[in-house]
Amino acid sequence: MKLTHALPLTALVAAVSAAAQAQEITVATVNNNDMVIMQSLTDEFEQAYPGISVNWVVLEENVLRQRTTTDIATGGGQFDVMTIGTYEVPIWAERDWLVGLNGLPDAYQVDDLLRPVRDGLSRDGVLHALPFYGESSMLYYRQDLFDEHGIEMPEQPSWEEAREWASELHDPDNGLYGICLRGKPGWGENMAFVSTLVNTFGGRWFDEDWNPEIDSPEWQAAIEFYVDLLGNYGPPGASSNGFNENLALFSGGRCAMWVDATSAAGRLFDPSESDVAEALGFSQAPIAETPKGSHWLWSWALAIPATSQQQDAAQQFITWATSREYIELVGERHGWTSVPPGTRTSTYEDERYIEAAPFASFVLEAMENADPTDSTLKPSPYIGVQFAGIPEFQAIGTQVGQTIAAALTGQTTVEQALVSAQRSAERAMRQAGYYD
C-alpha cells in the first residue's frame, strides 16, 4: 500500500525537479533534408531527455556560417549546438572555439564512426564534432541510355571515356545533355568539383611551401578539359548550376551523366522525386592521371561552441542525434533511404539499409577511400580533398571559382583565368603571412 503511493510520488518529485532544472538548448542548423528530419524528431529527444528542451535556428548555409562565426568569435553564447562542416572543424578547434568531446559514453560506439570522417573531425586525436551525415562524390548515369548505345560502364571509368560518352549521348535538340557538372562559383560549389578534377589530373592547390600552383600545367590541363567538356556537352547556362540545379536536371532526365555528391543517391532512387529512379546507374568518380583525390569527402557535423552555457545538455543532444538509435529511428519513421548516410559502419552493415539503398556499398567504398591527408599526387601541406584546410581558403577558393566560371562562359581564356587566379591567390597568401 505504502509502496504504491511512494512510486507515483517519487515520479512526481522527479518530474518537478526535472522541470525546475529544465535546460533549453539552441541548435543552429541548415535546411537540408536530413536536418529537417532531425527537427521533426525533436519530440522524441525531449521525451527521452525530459530535462532538456530544444530551440531551432534554421538558416541558409552562408548566413549560418557568418552568424555562427560572429557569435563564436565575440563570445556571444547564442548557440549550444552548431552545424558545421569538415572544413571548419579543425580550424575552429585550433582556436579553442569548440568543446573537445572526450567523455563520450561507451554506448555511443565511437569506433563505429567511419575512420576518414572521424579523422576529419578530430584534432590531436580528440573529436571536436560528431558527424551527422557524410558524403563523397560519384558518377551517376542513365543506364537506359548507356544500354541503348551499347556502352558498358567499367568498374573505374576515366575522364577521357566520360568525354567520349558525353559527346555520343549529347542531344540538346531533345533536351538531353551529355554531362552535368557544377559551374556555379563558390568554394563549396564549383570548386568542390574542380578541386577533385585537378587532383586526379595530378595538380594541387599549394606546394609544400604554401605557394599556390594554380597556373601549373596540371591545373591548365584539368580546367581546359572541364571547360571543353561542360561547354560542349553540358546544359546551357552551366555556369549558374550548383548541386540543386543539377539535381533537378538529372532527376528530370535531362543529363546522361552527373558527377556529384553521394548524398543525392537517396533522392535519385526515390520514384516520387525522380523520373530516372528506374534507370539510374552509378559508378565511381572518373579518374585521369591518378586516382588520388578523385572524389571528395565532406560531412556535416554537430559541434558545441566553447561559449555554450549548457554544454552537458548540448552533448546529450549531439550524441543522441548522431547515435545508432537515431539512425534506427529515422529508418523506421521515414524509410531506410532517408537515414543520414556516411557516418557509421553499422549503417552499411544493416540489411534493411542495403536492401533499400543499392548504392550503399559504393558510397561506403568511396568514403573509405577518400583520404584528406593524402589527396594529391605530389605532396601537399594541407588537409582536405576538395579544399585546403586553412582559414584563407574560403576567400581564395571563391575567387578562383569566379575566374573559372568566367572561363566557362567564354569571358576569358583558361590561361588568362588561371594566371589571374594564381596572382590573387599569391596575394592572399602573402597578406596572410605565409611568406614575404
Partner: protein, 300 residues
C-alpha cells in the same frame, strides 16, 4: 540655352492647313489625349515589371517543388502542400508577432524622438542645423556590416541579443535619420506664422506641437511612419544577425527555408508570400495616406 527657337513657330508652320484651321486648342487636346495614353501605358508597364516578381512568387508557392524548378509555366494544378510543409516546420504566428512588435515599436519610438528633433531643426534652426542633418544622413552611408561586431559586443554585454527590445532599438536607430529628414521637410513647409499665432495666444511649446504642428502635418507624419514600418518589416541584416530563436522576425523565417541541398523554391515562395502578405495588405489599406503624405506640400 542655345535652343532659342520658339517652340510653336516651326510646328505651326509645318502643319497642314486643315489642322491649322482646327486651331491650337484642338491639337492640344489630341496631343494631351495621346500623352495620357502613353503615360498610362508606361505606368502599367512599370507596375507590371515591379509587380511581376511578387506575382511569380505567389504563383510558385502553389506549385510542387518539381514544378517550381521545371520550365516556367502559368498553368498547373495548384496545391497547398508547400504551405502545409512550411506551417508544419515553423510557428508562423510567433515570427509574425515579433515582426509586428519590432516594426511598430521602433516606428513609434522613432516618431517620438524624430518629431521633437525635426521641430527644433525646422523652426529653430541654428547655423549647425544643415550640418547636423547631413551628418545624420551620413550614418546611412556606412554599410551595416561595418558596425556589426561592435554592436554585437554591446548587445552581448547588455544582454540584448535575441530580444525584441534590442531589435526595436536597432531599427529605431536605423530609421531615425530618414524619419527626421522626412519630418523636417514636412515641417518646413508649414508656414511659421501659424505656430507664431498659437504662441501669441499663449500656447506652450508642447501645446504648439500637440495641437498645431501634429494635426496640420498628420499626412506627412503618417507617411513617414508607414515608410518606417515597411523598412523595419523588410530589414534582414540585423534581424538575422542579432536574433536566434526568441525574437526572430519573419525575415529569419524566410531565410530558414532556403537550402543548399534539395529543392526549396516552392516552400520558400510559400513562406515569403506569408511573410509579405501582412505588410502588403497594410500598405494597400494605407496607400491613400502614403500618397497624400508623399505628395504633401509638393504643389506650392
Amino acid at each position: 540655352m542655345f535652343n532659342k527657337t520658339p517652340t510653336s513657330g516651326p510646328a505651326t508652320a509645318a502643319m497642314p492647313p486643315a489642322q491649322q484651321a482646327l486651331g491650337a486648342q484642338g491639337i492640344g487636346a489630341v496631343l494631351a489625349r495621346h500623352r495620357r495614353l502613353w503615360l498610362a501605358l508606361l505606368a502599367w508597364t512599370i507596375t507590371f515589371v515591379i509587380f511581376f516578381p511578387i506575382f511569380w512568387m505567389v504563383l510558385t508557392g502553389f506549385k510542387t517543388e518539381a514544378q517550381a524548378i521545371a520550365d516556367p509555366t502559368l498553368f498547373f494544378t495548384p496545391t497547398l502542400d508547400s504551405y502545409a510543409a512550411v506551417q508544419g516546420r515553423a510557428d508562423y504566428l510567433k515570427f509574425a508577432w515579433n515582426s509586428v512588435y519590432v516594426s511598430f515599436g521602433s516606428t513609434l519610438l522613432a516618431l517620438l524622438i524624430g518629431i521633437p528633433a525635426a521641430y527644433s531643426m525646422a523652426f529653430l534652426p541654428t547655423k549647425r542645423t544643415k550640418g547636423t542633418l547631413l551628418w545624420m544622413l551620413s550614418t546611412k552611408m556606412l554599410p551595416p556590416v561595418g558596425v556589426l561586431v561592435p554592436i554585437y559586443l554591446i548587445f552581448r554585454d547588455l544582454g540584448m541579443l535575441d530580444t525584441r527590445i534590442g531589435l526595436t532599438v536597432i531599427y529605431t536607430l536605423m530609421n531615425l535619420p530618414i524619419v527626421i529628414w522626412m519630418l523636417y521637410t514636412f515641417f518646413k513647409d508649414l508656414p511659421k506664422d501659424i505656430l507664431e499665432a498659437g504662441r501669441m495666444d499663449g500656447a506652450s511649446t508642447l501645446q504648439e506641437v500637440l495641437y498645431l504642428l501634429i494635426p496640420l502635418t498628420l499626412p506627412g507624419i503618417a507617411s513617414t511612419g508607414l515608410l518606417s514600418v515597411i523598412l523595419s518589416w523588410n530589414e534582414a541584416f540585423w534581424s538575422l544577425n542579432l536574433t536566434s530563436s526568441r525574437a526572430a522576425p519573419l525575415t529569419a523565417y524566410i531565410a530558414s527555408f532556403s537550402s543548399p541541398e534539395g529543392l526549396f523554391w516552392a516552400k520558400l515562395s510559400a513562406a515569403s508570400t506569408m511573410a509579405v502578405a501582412p505588410i502588403l495588405i497594410f500598405g494597400w489599406l494605407t496607400q491613400k495616406q502614403m500618397v497624400r503624405g508623399l505628395t504633401f506640400g509638393a504643389v506650392k
